[in-house]
């Protein structure tokens, strides 16, 4: 990997972190409403996996989707505008936090009904199989989502039809307030894929290089016709499930433990130790990310609200 690429990935991770820290503040100030699920702590997963895709490969995820949006190339200002429900947001204010998407970037969006997007991933992949397009669909979802029927139907048929999908489970240890072992019959989530005969493995989701390397290899295999693959990324969300989560289900020590393995810190050390980047260069990226987010907030705040007629638009397209 070239230095430029490393610096870019580092920049993406820091941008996500700064964006979400700012979003949390704006939420407290009442400038962002509704529900806000932060990705803080999990940045290495989507940054690593998405760096391993080709631009024509498709990404689809759940509602914890701001980071994925940044990684897919949606500008921070457009994400911020959507968070504030502005006309300049990626769904023109209709979607908000949970429904970032940009099909031109092959990002098929955040989805708020847990698990509901997994069969959609199967369909996207079926399209590629049908048309002999050597593309891969990457479907991201949480540990909790593996307990709902959508998951089992979609994963089963992906194997039956040999669909080109990477099932990427982000195991952040909890589905809302419920720990994995309290909700999943098998706490080893890859066993569920094993049950459907799907090759699977686990990766340290706090370590971007491990995620990326695993994903590169897997995506290559899938592209060559290897069929579906299940990757579990073991990770942790530092913040509550969404804003306002009283977090009675976990102890501060547990959070601190995971914070010592901060994915941004790990990547930074990796780059510095191997002399792939200097402290100064990384500090500059930190500053650039901060500037990017400051500008994003300004852009979003000064953007117009949606127009009244937009309420009625896009219900159908003309046949």
């Amino acid at each position: 990997m070239e230095k430029r690429e490393h610096l870019d990935l580092y920049f993406q991770m820091v941008t996500i972190r700064r964006l979400e820290e700012r979003a949390a503040e704006l939420y407290q100030e009442g400038k962002i409403g509704g529900f806000l699920h932060l990705y803080i702590g999990q940045e290495a997963v989507s940054t690593g996996v998405i760096s391993a895709r080709q631009p024509e490969d498709r990404i689809i995820t759940a509602y914890r989707d701001h980071g994925v949006a940044i990684n897919c190339g949606i500008p921070a200002r457009v994400v911020m505008a959507e968070l504030m429900g502005k006309a300049t947001g990626c769904s023109k204010g209709k979607g908000g936090s949970m429904h970032m998407a940009d099909v031109t970037k092959n990002y098929f969006g955040g989805h708020a009904i847990v698990g509901s997007h997994l069969p959609l991933a199967s369909g996207l992949a079926l399209g590629d199989l049908y048309q002999h397009n050597p593309r891969v669909t990457v479907c991201m979802f949480g540990d909790g989502a593996t307990n709902i029927g959508f998951f089992h139907e979609a994963v089963n048929l992906s194997k039956v039809w040999n669909l080109p999908i990477l099932w990427l489970c982000e195991n952040n240890q909890y589905g809302m307030g419920t720990a994995v072992e309290r909700a999943s019959a098998v706490p080893e989530i890859p066993q569920k894929a094993e049950g459907y005969g799907i090759p699977n493995s686990r990766v340290d989701g706090m370590n971007i290089m491990e995620v990326r390397e695993a994903a590169l290899e897997i995506i290559k295999k899938i592209r060559e016709g290897g069929g579906p693959y299940f990757l579990e990324a073991v990770t942790y969300r530092y913040r509550g499930h969404s804003m306002g989560d009283p977090e009675r289900y976990r102890k501060p020590e547990e959070i601190h433990h995971w914070q010592e393995n901060d994915p941004i810190g790990i990547y930074r050390r990796y780059l510095v130790d191997r002399q792939l980047a200097s402290e100064e260069e990384l500090n500059q990226k930190d500053i650039d990310a901060q500037t990017e987010i400051d500008e994003a907030v300004q852009f979003a705040e000064s953007s117009p609200e949606p127009a009244p007629e937009s309420l009625y638009q896009d219900v159908f397209v003309e046949p």
């Binding site: 509704g34 209709k94 589905g175 909700a183 289900y249 309420l311």
Partner: protein, 327 residues
């Protein structure tokens, strides 16, 4: 009488039913330790334990399906669906299993189950955390559907739902959880499933509403009262079975009818009320029946102003009342 919020009344209703009957239990996502996302079950896990306040995996079909099975066994499950929007994975279980069981078994098998679900917009929840889903269920014979609009009814209807030998869908206006306050009688009481209630007698026109929209309609009625329009407000409370008598009696009295709901217009519950009035109250009408509902768009948008344009509110209801009154 003590005053409490809507959600406190719901919680108290569940608490008393858990206390009264050991076959009553709660099942849902994060209803235990966490006390539910809206805190509806707060404290119940501590009081009744994990056997009776059961945290379920993320699996709505499983929650409801298991509830149906336990109800067939003779238990009295209260299934919580975290947001009404998430009820659709369980739709099959409700429509094909719960609703038909009594009929197909000639009354041998019954499903004494309550499904609670917070519904409605106004909290910025956006497309998948704001829907009003009642019309999907009022169309299904074999299900009872109730929507309380105030704490007193919320508690009383909840108790009736739990004790009813049939499946009852109990939709809670989440926007009103802490906003709507009211007096709740001390001691044991129930509010029967079935009867609507005239919540504000009036003579110029009748407004039919339920849930959050009933709360807003009362506010709208006060606004127009200052302008000399005397609106009668009817809280439908139970949507299925429909209380035709109360609806028709009100129209007989006022000669004009407006129906308000925050579900979208086409095929919404207002259509059923309007048809009821057209079929059996036609000769009492002095004006066309009117409906005020959300527009026919696929969801409640996230943006704050768009949500406001989507939702009926006291001002929009007052405008609709003035318009009908002047017919």
């Amino acid at each position: 009488m003590p005053e409490m919020t809507l959600i406190e009344a719901i919680r108290q209703g569940m608490d008393e039913e858990l206390e009264r009957d050991k076959d009553v239990f709660i099942i849902g996502e994060d209803v235990g330790k966490r006390g539910g996302v809206f805190r509806a079950t707060m404290g119940l896990f501590e009081k009744y334990g994990p056997q009776r306040v059961i945290d379920s995996p993320l699996a709505e079909l499983g929650i409801v399906g298991t509830g149906i099975g336990a109800a067939l066994y003779g238990m009295r499950p209260i299934c919580e669906i975290q947001f009404a929007d998430f009820i659709y994975p369980a739709f099959n279980q409700i429509v094909n299993e719960a609703a038909k069981m009594c009929y197909r078994s000639n009354g041998d098998w019954t499903v004494p189950m309550t499904i609670r679900a917070p519904y409605g917009g106004g909290i910025g929840g956006g497309l998948y955390h704001s829907q009003s889903v009642e019309a999907s269920f009022t169309h299904i014979p074999g299900l009872k559907v109730v929507v309380p609009s105030n704490p007193r009814d919320a508690k009383g209807l909840l108790k009736s739902a739990v004790r009813d030998p049939n499946p009852v869908l109990y939709f809670e206006p989440k926007k009103g959880y802490r906003l709507i306050k009211g007096e709740v009688p001390e001691g044991e009481y129930t509010v029967p499933i079935g009867p609507a209630q005239v919540s504000r007698p009036g003579k110029d026109l009748s407004v039919f509403a339920y849930g959050m929209m009933h709360y807003y309609t009362l506010q709208a009625a006060e606004k127009v009262a200052a302008e000399g329009i005397d609106a009668e407000v009817v809280d439908l409370r139970t949507l299925y079975p429909v209380d035709r008598e109360t609806i028709l009696a009100s129209v007989r009295k006022t000669g004009k009818a407006l129906i308000v709901h925050e579900d979208n217009l086409t095929g919404g519950y207002g259509a059923e009320v309007a048809a009821t009035i057209a079929e059996w109250g036609f000769q009492d009408l002095d004006a066309p029946v009117r409906r005020l509902a959300a527009p026919d768009v696929p969801g409640v948008p996230f943006s704050h102003p768009m949500q406001d344009w989507f939702m009926p509110n006291p001002d929009k209801i007052a405008a609709a009342i003035r318009d009908l009154a002047s017919f």
